[in-house]
Amino acid sequence: MTVSYALLGLLERSARHGYDLKQSYDRRFGGVKPVRFGQVYRALAQLTRDGLIEVVGVEAGAGPDRKRYAITDEGVTDLGAWLGEPEEPQPLLQPVLFTKVVLAVLSGRPADRFLDAQRAAHLAAMARLTKARRAAASTQDAILADYQLFHIEADLRWIDHTAARLGTLADEVRDAADRS
């Protein structure tokens, strides 16, 4: 979904071949995850079927024919609507952290030690990302690192909050275990 709209956005700037689009995508958004050629061509085929882009030329070459794509009016409208629509907030849950804490408490293992180790790993990751952000070549690279930093920081706040409530959690989990 996001890849399709990113391609649509790139095509709004100018008509291009699939190969150029893949290069452009990786340059702009590859910091998150580079896209595969197959994904690009599948997305282009779907966007063409939906009438959001169209083929405006085919160049014969040594390899397969190179199709040139352009955004349609409908595509421009659709892209505008998508950009204006807020996304449903989705907690980027790492359910494994929650599961480990509850399991540790349930089995009488030291949950605080797990949380300490996790805190150390998170702080070290933040230090690495901060270094990368300070060396970032562009604001775009810096705000991608910031995005990751703020999410790790949110996890850390949960870790500290949970560490402070382990006693209450242990009582509650044991009571529930006694009843079941």
Binding site: A124, A125, A127, T130, K131, R134, F150
Partner: protein, 223 residues
Amino acid sequence: MLLTGRDLHKSFGSAYALRGAGVTLTKGEVVAVMGPSGSGKSTLLHCLAGILRPDSGEVWFADRRIDDLPDRDRAQLRRTAFGFVFQFGQLVPELPAVENVALPLLLAGRRRRDALAAGREWLRRLGLDGLDGRMPGELSGGESQRVALARALVAAPAVVFADEPTGALDSVAADQVMELLVDAAHAQGTSVLLVTHEPRVAAFADRTVLVRDGRDTAPVGAG
């Protein structure tokens, strides 16, 4: 080792603030001390900086034990070898920015003209050119904190102690202050002991020490 605090204990009445905390700082190193509210991290900073005298334990600076020095000698050390930044810049409201920056040099007896020239140079380095004559009340929070940074660094101290230096700033201004602090410290070989409860701020440090219930716990490398 430039600065070492070892097995530090400190209580206020019946309340324990430190129960065996320690930390070390090498030359040019930036170390963050993190911990929840009431963990003792600010008391640790105050003991290391010679502001408070620990009940027991030792503080060594440049191969000299400093926790048992008389108050006057510790005050002298704070003026000559240490710089300070606190959460709210604590600038002198009656003095323009440049004089606030030059203050440590003026107190050390440096000629006024030289001290002000050094103050102006530090304001320029921290991106505050043209604000020399501004009074603290006319500066934004981020600008005030940068003036406070300049004041902490102007006398080329061996150690800057920073207690929640970004606590009153938004994240963009906080990043800017931290970048300037770390870059300036690295450039002149100044060590920094940074107390913060914000992981985002601690992430600028070379190393993080966690304090809980008045004790330091396993250090965290920068990776």
